[in-house]
């Protein structure tokens, strides 16, 4: 059974107001997304900026209200949960953000930051202290770090604090929204490896949101590729390099710079154009203006995400 499932999830912004916002165009950030995540699995969600991947992550966490669609967590429909039930859900789904600095309160010591979720869910003081030390050790920090402020840490260490906070309540699922994008190359591997270890150790599931295909390839079991509010392809990581079928997935793969001078110049195969405005998605297949294999049908009819092989879905007319 899947741990998390989204069915036809939609999130539109703007376009509905009568007054000041009334003239705005409707932004279709997430426009009919269905996906699932099994227990113990890491699902990578990749796409370029503005494709709606972060919005989708926030929807699944119930940090945003969906315009339409349903979200199921552990078999229960959580789409409309409020109050106590939603609060209880929070301890089971956590999030790690990209910017490790701004997601920590600069005026709180690390110990207090880590204690807060524990206190929120009623753990008494003595046990909280013990748990904080445990958490610090889990993410590779020292006990004395509890007495320091976030600004005294480097970016990589701050991301460790974020991870510790996310782990505090022993969640089932962590949404990692670009967790290593702002980190230096040498530190990135430390954090990726830590995430991998923690997953094995605590049986976690991750939704790993990233624009970096190489990191996703390293950490995820399956990959969902998003373009302009829609999932265009879902497949296993093992199949990503050889079996990716959607022209957009292939374009993304081709555009990843590989640190090997003998691989030839990746920029020669670059697709043209930039991601279009999500307020005005193109008719038909949303990728058609940039697609190297575009045909007439693509301009009029939007392809649906369909199974092409077990565990492999593609939304393209011609695969």
């Amino acid at each position: 059974m899947s741990l998390l499932q989204a069915v036809d999830l939609v999130k539109h912004y703007g376009g509905d107001g009568v007054f000041f916002g009334g003239g705005r165009r409707k932004i279709r950030a997430v426009d009919g997304v269905s996906l699932f995540l099994s227990r113990g699995e890491t699902l990578g969600l990749v796409g370029e900026s503005g494709c709606g991947k972060s919005t989708l992550g926030r929807l699944l966490l119930r940090l945003e209200e969906p315009t339409a669609g349903k979200i199921f967590f552990a078999g229960e429909d959580i789409t409309a949960w409020t109050g106590k039930r939603l609060r209880a859900l929070r301890r089971r789904i956590q999030i790690i953000f990209q910017d490790s600095g701004s997601s920590l309160n600069g005026r709180q010591k690390v110990g207090a930051i880590l204690e807060e979720p524990l206190a929120n869910f009623g753990m008494e003081k003595a046990r909280r202290r013990k748990r904080v030390l445990e958490l610090l050790a889990t993410v590779g920090l020292e006990p004395e770090h509890a007495l320091r402020y976030p600004h005294e840490f480097s970016g990589g260490q701050r991301q460790r604090i974020n991870i510790a906070r996310a782990l505090a309540l022993q969640p089932d699922l962590i949404v990692c929204d670009e967790p290593v994008s702002s980190l230096d190359v040498s530190i990135r591997a430390q954090v990726l490896n830590l995430l991998h270890e923690l997953k094995k150790r605590f049986g976690l599931s991750y939704l790993f949101i990233s624009h970096d295909l190489a990191s996703v390839h390293y950490l995820a079991d399956r990959v969902a590729v998003m373009y302009l509010g829609r999932i265009v392809e879902v497949l296993t990581v093992r199949g990503l390099l050889g079996n990716a079928l959607h022209p957009y997935t292939r374009a993304l793969l081709a555009a990843v710079p590989v640190p090997d001078p003998q691989r030839g110049a990746f920029y020669r195969e670059a697709i043209q154009g930039e991601p279009p405005d999500p307020g005005r998605p193109p008719a038909g297949c949303r990728f058609h203006p940039r697609c190297p294999c575009v045909r007439d049908q693509c301009r009029g009819v939007e392809p649906v995400l369909r199974d092409v092989a077990p565990g492999h879905k593609v939304a393209c007319h011609f695969v």
């Binding site: 040498s186 001078p261 930039e274």
Partner: protein
């Protein structure tokens, strides 16, 4: 002429003095760039690569100062020029593109005004002629509908378009050397690929030498002819791109290559332990020492200089040096640079 050394940097040192002491952001950097070729400078944040770029064209403000070294561009020593002379060299002979195009463009002027302005302020041409040149430039960097674009303001453009405008502006006066500091870091991968392709094409067309600064080893691998790996303000390895990637000499380069996730490789990542060092009052031993798996007694001595470990390949590591010949001792003599003039 392609293949001739166009830019020679000798022992460049830039320091920032603060209440806590001296930060040697650039600490004795020596390299050269040949006409029409690309030097890739790779390093992590804080390794001094951006400060090095700014130092090359004398854009260091107090409390920073260029404490020593020489920058020879086509027979001129840039660091000894008067502010007026330097102004004429900047843009015209050596130009710079930054990571964030929004903060380098003027938000209240149209793209057209800014481009035309750049040309008119350096070359004696009429505005009409400069305008025509600007239109050609915009088309040259792959921007559609240049006429319309000229009337637009920076905020109306996407990040990729802004960076294309910056590149058009930087190349408007056909500089001999273009310095690009993380030009595509803020962009999506597909747009990054387009822009790097454009840069490569323009470079070929104009014969510009390119100094490409980035933290992305993949970008370096595809773009650079020569690579300089920077760590804590110094170049620790320098050599032909293929050579550095296939036979890295410095433990830092080796570790860096194993720490990047790459598509198609299933072997695990080996992180580099520890943190990049604080450049404040850095001790005079090898800066990589605390993180180095190979460190030994000799590493606690003086900081290693670049040594020759292959044709054109240099490495600064006590453990790899052995019997290697020191590199570039002659370049440290002030008079030596003149032979590039």
């Amino acid at each position: 002429m392609p293949g001739d050394t166009i830019l020679q940097v000798c022992n460049l040192t830039t320091q920032f003095t603060g209440p806590g002491g001296v930060v040697k952001a650039v600490d004795g950097v020596t390299f050269h760039v040949k006409a029409g070729q690309t030097l890739g400078v790779v390093g992590e944040s804080g390794c001094g690569k951006s400060v090095m770029c700014l130092s090359l064209i004398g854009l260091i403000d107090p409390p920073g100062r260029i404490a020593g070294g020489e920058v020879w561009l086509d027979g001129k020593e840039l660091l000894r020029l008067s502010p007026g002379e330097l102004r004429r060299v900047r843009g015209r002979e050596i130009a710079l593109v930054f990571q964030d195009p929004m903060s380098s463009l003027n938000p209240v002027l149209t793209v057209g005004t800014q481009l035309t302005e750049t040309i008119v302020s350096h070359v004696r041409v009429s505005r009409a002629k400069a305008r025509r040149a600007a239109l050609r430039l915009l088309a040259g960097v792959g921007l559609p509908d240049p006429e319309r674009l000229m009337r637009r303001y920076p905020f109306q453009l996407s990040g990729g378009m802004r960076q294309r405008v910056m590149i058009a502006m930087a190349l408007s006066l056909r500089p001999k050397v273009l310095i690009a500091d993380e030009p595509t870091t803020a962009l999506d991968v597909t747009v990054q690929a387009q822009i790097l392709g454009e840069m490569k094409r323009l470079q070929k067309e104009l014969g510009t030498a390119l100094i490409l600064v980035t933290h992305d080893l993949g970008v370096i691998a595809a773009m650079a002819d020569t690579v300089a790996v920077m760590y804590a303000g110094s170049i620790v390895e320098y050599g032909p791109c293929t050579e550095v990637f296939t036979h890295p000499g410095h433990p830092y380069t080796k570790a860096l290559l194993r720490a990047v996730p790459r598509l198609g490789a299933d072997d695990g990542l080996v992180p580099i332990p520890g943190q990049p060092p604080n450049l404040l009052n850095l001790p005079d031993c090898c800066a990589f020492l605390p993180r180095c798996p190979l460190s030994g007694e000799e590493c606690r001595g003086n900081r290693p200089r670049l040594h020759v470990c292959g044709p054109e390949h240099r490495v600064a590591c006590h453990r790899s040096i052995g019997e290697l010949q020191p590199y570039g001792e002659d370049l440290y003599e002030p008079a030596a640079g003149r032979r590039f003039g």
